[in-house]
C-alpha cells in the first residue's frame, strides 16, 4: 500500500514535469505565441489517452530503473527510519553490550577462577616436579654410588681372579720344577719307587695346574671378563696345528689321530688361542675316552653360513641321559667315572662358552658302544653383535643349549 501511494506521488511529479518540459519545448520551437497554441501543438498528434499511456509507461520505467528522484524518495524514507533508530537500537545496543560485557565478565571471572585453580595446580605441579627432580637426583646419586660400588666390586673381582691365579700357581711353581729336576736325575740317582712317586706328584701337580686354569677360565667366562683377541685366522692351519700338538698324546695311547676330508676353509675372525683350546679339548677328550688302537677323526665342512668342525671317536659312547648334562660344569658321564680320567670336568663347559661367545654352537651325537661325535659350528660371517654386545643374548642361548643339550644331533 505504501508502495502504491509512493508510485502515485511519483506519477504526479512526472506529469507536472512532462507538461513543464512540453511547454518549454513549445516556447523554444514556436519562438512566440500563446500557451493554448503551444498545448494544442504539443498534444494534437497523440491525443489525451496517448499522453496518459506515455506518462504511466514512463513513470513505471523510471521507478523500475530506480531513477534518481525515485531513489531520493527512498533515501528520505531511510533517513526518516534512521532518525528514529538511534534511540531504540541504542538501548538495544547498550543492552547487548551490557549483556555481552556481563557475559565477558562472567567468563573472565570463571577464567580467573580457573586460572587461580590452575595456579594452585601449577604450584602443586611445580612442587611435585621439584620433588620428582629431587627424587631423580637422589636416584641418580644412588645409581652413581651403586655404579662406583659395582666398579669397585668389579676391580675386586678382577683383583681376586688375579690374586687367586697368582696365589694358586705360585706354590705349584717350585713343586713342579723340583719334581721335574728330581725325575730327570739332576738331584741325584733315584730308585724305581722314587721315580714312580715323582711321576704321581708330577701328574697331580699338572692336574692341579689345569684345574686352576680351567676354574679361572670359567670365572672369567661367567663374569664376562674374558678378553677375546679376534683376528683373521686360517682355520685349516688351526686344525692342523692342534692335530700335530695332540699327536704325541694319541701315540702314547696307541690311538690314530687323523684329519679326514677337510676342505679349504675360509679365513675367519676368531680368537685363535681360544678356538684352539676348544679343539684341543674335544680331541683330548676323544683320545682320553677311546679304547687303545682305535681312531680319532677330525672332520670339517662348510655350509653357506657356518664352518663345522667335528671330532669323532670310536669309544664307549655316551648314555642318552648324560648328553644334556655333558656341557655342564664338573659333569662327567657315569661311564667315565670308572676310568682314571684326568681333567677338570670343565673343558666342555668352557668350550661351550667360547663357541657361543663366537656366535656359534656346540653339540654332541653319540651311540652307546659305537662312539661319539663332538662338533662345533662357527658363523662364517663375523658380526660384531655376536661379540661382547650380544653377551646377554649369548648367555640365554647357551643356557638354552645347556637345557637342551645336544639338540643338533
Amino acid at each position: 500500500m505504501k508502495q502504491f501511494m509512493r508510485s502515485l506521488a511519483g506519477v504526479g511529479v512526472f506529469t507536472l514535469l512532462f507538461f513543464g518540459v512540453a511547454i518549454v519545448i513549445g516556447i523554444v520551437l514556436g519562438g512566440s505565441g500563446t500557451l493554448g497554441t503551444l498545448l494544442q501543438l504539443a498534444l494534437q498528434p497523440i491525443g489525451m489517452l496517448g499522453i496518459t499511456i506515455i506518462v504511466v509507461l514512463a513513470l513505471s520505467l523510471a521507478y523500475y530503473m530506480e531513477m534518481p528522484w525515485v531513489k531520493l524518495e527512498g533515501i528520505a524514507k531511510k533517513y526518516e527510519a534512521l532518525s528514529i533508530k538511534p534511540q531504540e537500537e541504542g538501548e538495544e545496543y547498550f543492552a547487548c553490550i551490557f549483556e555481552e560485557g556481563a557475559g565477558r565478565l562472567a567468563n573472565a571471572e570463571a577464567r580467573l577462577a580457573r586460572m587461580s585453580e590452575g595456579d594452585r595446580n601449577i604450584d602443586q605441579k611445580s612442587l611435585y616436579l621439584a620433588e620428582t627432580e629431587q627424587a631423580l637426583l637422589n636416584i641418580l646419586e644412588d645409581v652413581e654410588e651403586a655404579n662406583t660400588k659395582l666398579k669397585e666390586l668389579d676391580h675386586l673381582k678382577t683383583d681376586f681372579l688375579n690374586v687367586t691365579s697368582h696365589e694358586l700357581r705360585t706354590p705349584l711353581t717350585p713343586l713342579v720344577a723340583y719334581a721335574d729336576m728330581m725325575e730327570q736325575g739332576k738331584l741325584g740317582p733315584l730308585t724305581e719307587e722314587q721315580k714312580q712317586a715323582l711321576s704321581v706328584i708330577k701328574r697331580n701337580a699338572n692336574r692341579l695346574r689345569l684345574l686352576i686354569t680351567d676354574i679361572l677360565d670359567i670365572a672369567k667366562l661367567e663374569g664376562r671378563r674374558m678378553k677375546y683377541q679376534m683376528q683373521l685366522a686360517s682355520l685349516n692351519r688351526l686344525v692342523s696345528t692342534v692335530i700335530s700338538e695332540q699327536q704325541s698324546t694319541a701315540r702314547n695311547r696307541n690311538i690314530v689321530l687323523k684329519a679326514e676330508g677337510i676342505p679349504q676353509l675360509p679365513k675367519m675372525k676368531i680368537d685363535t688361542t681360544r678356538i684352539m683350546q676348544v679343539l684341543n679339548n674335544l680331541i683330548g677328550n676323544a683320545i682320553k675316552f677311546s679304547p687303545d688302537g682305535t681312531d680319532v677323526i677330525v672332520r670339517a665342512r662348510l655350509t653357506p653360513k657356518e664352518v663345522i668342525i667335528s671330532v669323532t671317536d670310536h669309544g664307549i659312547g655316551i648314555p642318552a641321559d648324560d648328553i644334556p648334562k655333558l656341557f655342564n660344569m664338573f659333569y662327567q658321564s657315569r661311564r667315565t667315572m670308572t676310568r682314571n680320567a684326568e681333567g677338570s670336568g670343565l673343558g666342555l663347559a668352557i668350550s661351550r662358552w667360547i663357541v657361543t661367545d663366537h656366535g656359534g654352537s656346540i653339540w654332541v651325537s653319540s651311540k652307546e658302544g659305537a662312539g661319539s661325535t663332538f662338533a662345533f659350528a662357527l658363523p662364517r660371517k663375523y658380526s660384531p653383535s655376536t661379540q661382547g654386545a650380544g653377551a646377554a643374548v649369548l648367555e640365554s642361548q647357551s643356557l638354552d643349549e645347556m637345557k637342551g643339550g645336544g639338540k643338533k644331533q
Binding site: N162, R169, T173, P174, V176, A177, M181, K186
Partner: protein, 125 residues
C-alpha cells in the same frame, strides 16, 4: 762355556728363587736373585746381567714398573723374560712390545720350558 752368562732374577717367592737358581746354575749360568724391584734396580747398578727374569706380581713396584724404571735409570737393559702366574692378556702383549720384553713364561713351568726360554733369550740378546 767360556764366559759364564749372568742372569738377574727378580722374584718374591723364596722357593721359586731357589729352584730357578738351581735349574739355571746346573746349566752353567750365574744367577743373582733379589726379592723386589727396588733391590733389582740396586743390583742393576752394580751388575751387568745378560738376562733378567722378572716376576710380574711383585710386592711394591710391579714387574712392569721395574722394567720401566730399569730402562729409565740404567739405560740399555739386557734381554728380559717376564715370569707370571697370570695368563698372558692383551694388555700383557702390549706391555711386552712397549717394554721390549723378549719372552714370557707362565707359572708353573717345567724345567724344559724355562730353559728353552732362557737359552733363546740369551742367544738373541
Amino acid at each position: 762355556m767360556n764366559v759364564k752368562k749372568m742372569i738377574l732374577h727378580v722374584e718374591d717367592s723364596a722357593d721359586t728363587r731357589e729352584i730357578v737358581k738351581l735349574i739355571l746354575e746346573k746349566e752353567g749360568y750365574i744367577v743373582y736373585s733379589v726379592e723386589d724391584g727396588e733391590s733389582g734396580l740396586r743390583a742393576l747398578k752394580k751388575l751387568k746381567p745378560n738376562l733378567m727374569l722378572v716376576d710380574i706380581m711383585l710386592p711394591g713396584m710391579t714387574g712392569w714398573e721395574f722394567v720401566k724404571a730399569a730402562r729409565e735409570k740404567v739405560g740399555k737393559t739386557p734381554a728380559i723374560i717376564m715370569l707370571s702366574a697370570l695368563e698372558i692378556t692383551v694388555e700383557h702383549r702390549k706391555s711386552l712390545q712397549k717394554y721390549g720384553v723378549t719372552g714370557y713364561v707362565t707359572k708353573p713351568f717345567t724345567v724344559e720350558t724355562l730353559l728353552r726360554a732362557v737359552h733363546s733369550a740369551i742367544k738373541s740378546g
